[in-house]
């Protein structure tokens, strides 16, 4: 397995004064399902278009499987793309759409037929050969777009928010299906999305982008459990930020004063320096416990429930703790909005679950 299958070396792309992608370097492994995740305008789509060859970088170079593709036009690259709006050619039918990219590969008629049949079976579109794009549903169009790209057997498949136009149920199905498909054919996928849930549920690794830079590149569970900065912690899932300042280090741990709560000793994975006031503590809503009675956890606070939202598989509580001037979000699978009398409760936090992060 090639660890540096796609190499992105010091890539920048400027549009006038705007740095859409700002000096980004990383590698993507062969056969990996890799996601570029970020809010709109973070540079993820520009980076994908640089890989496809629709844009050329201002600085830096791109390598795929050892060869430099920086200056190659899109038609000479070993990549194919699934477009956000699918871009199915409306004047030709499904079969002709899928065959479109085979013309220049020098295949025999038998080989073409086999490839088309195979890919139609792969995306479950047999029987739709004669249809035109206007006669297909959103999900079917997406399959045509996928088939049309995969039939060329690219080294890398680029996907630009392909699930954005589908309704939620279909989107969930397609997430699973895309993931299964990718493992089956083993082609490297580079997937662009603004949906953090989508990215972490499908990908082997995720690069979180903001303002043209990579904020963190990790496996999904690492992103969630060990965010490296406030942006990532905030963008992936939900969290509570508490103001804090660091004191002295103690081995892997560090003493912190959390505003309004007191002094605690927490883990210091990011090696944050002593005596810094530019830090926050992040606590996930589901890592806290909500209860009727006091607990013996590291931190236990009496709280008042402001607001609840019932989500079915869990309930989210928005609580106020006396002395902390901030609404804290706690989620629970055991309790719901009917569970507490007088809206009073206790919330408990384990020091294990506190992530210490540095402000910029």
């Amino acid at each position: 397995m090639n660890e540096n299958f796609i190499q992105i070396n010091g890539i920048s792309k400027h549009f006038g004064n705007v740095k859409a992608v700002d000096d980004v370097s990383f590698s993507i492994k062969e056969g990996e399902f890799f996601s570029l995740l970020g809010p709109s305008g973070c540079g993820k789509t520009t980076l994908l278009r640089l890989l496809a060859g629709f844009e050329y970088p201002t600085n830096g170079n791109l390598l795929i499987d050892g060869s430099d593709i920086t200056a190659l036009p899109p038609d000479k690259r070993p990549t194919n793309m699934v477009f956000q709006n699918y871009a199915i050619f409306p004047h030709i039918n499904v079969e002709q759409n899928i065959k479109f990219g085979l013309r220049k590969l020098g295949l025999t008629d038998d080989e073409i037929k086999k490839r088309v049949d195979d890919v139609l079976a792969l995306v479950k579109l047999e029987g739709y050969e004669e249809r035109f794009s206007g006669q297909l549903s959103g999900g079917q169009r997406q399959r045509v777009a996928l088939a049309r790209a995969l039939v060329r057997q690219p080294k890398v498949l680029l996907l630009d928010e392909p699930l954005g136009a589908l309704d939620k149920k279909l989107r969930d199905e397609m997430q699973l299906e895309l993931r299964t498909l990718q493992k089956e054919i083993g082609i490297t996928f580079v997937f662009v999305t603004h949906d953090q849930q989508e990215a972490i549920s499908m990908s082997d690794r995720v690069a979180v982008m903001s303002e043209g830079k990579i904020q963190q590149l990790s496996a999904p569970n690492e992103l969630y459990k060990n965010p490296e900065n406030i942006f990532v912690s905030d963008f992936i899932g939900e969290t509570n930020f508490l103001k804090a300042s660091t004191k002295s280090k103690d081995g892997d741990q560090i003493n912190v004063a959390i505003e309004d709560l007191g002094d605690f000793k927490v883990k210091n994975n990011l090696n944050i320096p002593e005596n810094s006031s530019d830090v926050v503590c992040s606590v996930r809503p589901e890592s806290m416990m909500i209860s009727r009675d006091k607990s013996d956890w590291d931190i236990c606070l009496e709280a008042k429930i402001n607001q609840t939202s019932y989500l079915g598989e869990m309930t989210r509580f928005y609580v106020e703790v006396s002395g902390i001037n901030k609404v804290i979000t706690v989620s629970s699978q055991h309790f719901d909005n009917q569970s507490f009398d007088n809206n009073t409760c206790f919330i408990s936090i384990s020091l294990e679950d506190i992530s210490l992060l540095q402000k910029k």
Partner: protein, 269 residues
């Protein structure tokens, strides 16, 4: 409600009456057995039509108009296609200035365009004839063709062209396999409109054609002699039928061999 409908109907009838009754006189008098356009009609004859077969100058003028029309419509549509694509697809320096420059012949009086070309052409020492007429018609038709094509291309999804590049086609392959077929309804419309504008254009031809008369020039020359009027009426009637046929052909071409969905696309484009 009823009254409103009636007044609208009256308005519609008057409108179409003004538009088409004068045109209808042409075919009526072209079958009238007299040299003058006046009622009562003198009797039915097809002599005026037969007369056209023997007029060698008419054939020459028709052939001249067809040549000029074909060259002018093809060249102006080609120029207009490239310009329309550039204006819709890209933002570039001098965009408004070049748009204005192409549109200029559409806005300035035709006679000024004609005189300007005449002066330059003569000063360059070239002979008058169909060549300067064609050049003038290209200038004159391009803005019309460009307006039609811009309207068509504006709704075009450019990710289709990117998809084609992505699937291994170079710029020419993409143009031929994706852009051209999808622009085609607009291109045909631009070609036909340019041809018809060129075919009945008079002022540029008047100044620039020299002794090579186009069809409108021929008709104008004949009008000066009363005896020659009737076969010009017949010619006019034929031109009306021919023009109607071309327009119907254009609509038929747009729809032929297309399924319902494709028609929708063609209309959108």
């Amino acid at each position: 409600m009823n009254e409103k409908n009636n007044s609208l109907l009256v308005y519609t009838l008057i409108y179409f009456g003004f538009l088409y009754i004068p045109v209808l006189f042409l075919p009526i008098f072209s079958f009238n057995d007299a040299n003058y356009m006046s009622f009562p009609l003198a009797g039915f004859t097809t002599d005026h039509y037969e007369e056209m077969w023997s007029k060698r100058n008419l054939h020459k003028a028709l052939w001249a108009s067809v040549k000029v029309g074909v060259v002018a419509s093809v060249v102006s549509t080609a120029i207009a296609l490239l310009a329309a694509k550039a204006f819709v697809r890209y933002k570039f320096r001098g965009q408004n200035v070049s748009y204005g420059a192409i549109m200029m012949p559409f806005l300035i009086p035709e006679i000024i365009l004609a005189v300007s070309i005449l002066i330059i052409w003569i000063n360059l020492g070239f002979p008058l004839g169909l060549v300067p007429v064609t050049i003038g018609h290209i200038l004159f038709c391009t803005p019309f063709a460009m307006l039609i094509l811009i309207a068509r291309i504006e709704g075009f999804d450019f990710s289709l062209e990117e998809a084609s590049r992505d699937l291994g086609e170079n710029a020419w392959g993409t143009f031929y396999r994706v852009s051209l077929p999808l622009y085609l309804p607009g291109i045909i419309a631009a070609l036909l409109l340019s041809f018809i504008i060129s075919f009945d254009e008079f002022i540029l031809a008047f100044f620039l054609s020299g002794s090579d008369a186009t069809l409108p020039m021929y008709m104008w020359n004949q009008m000066r002699f009363v005896k020659k009027l009737p076969h010009v009426l017949a010619l006019g009637a034929v031109i009306i039928v021919f023009t109607t046929f071309i327009v119907l052909l254009a609509f038929w071409l747009r729809n032929v061999g297309q399924g319902k969905e494709k028609q929708d696309i063609a209309i959108k484009l």
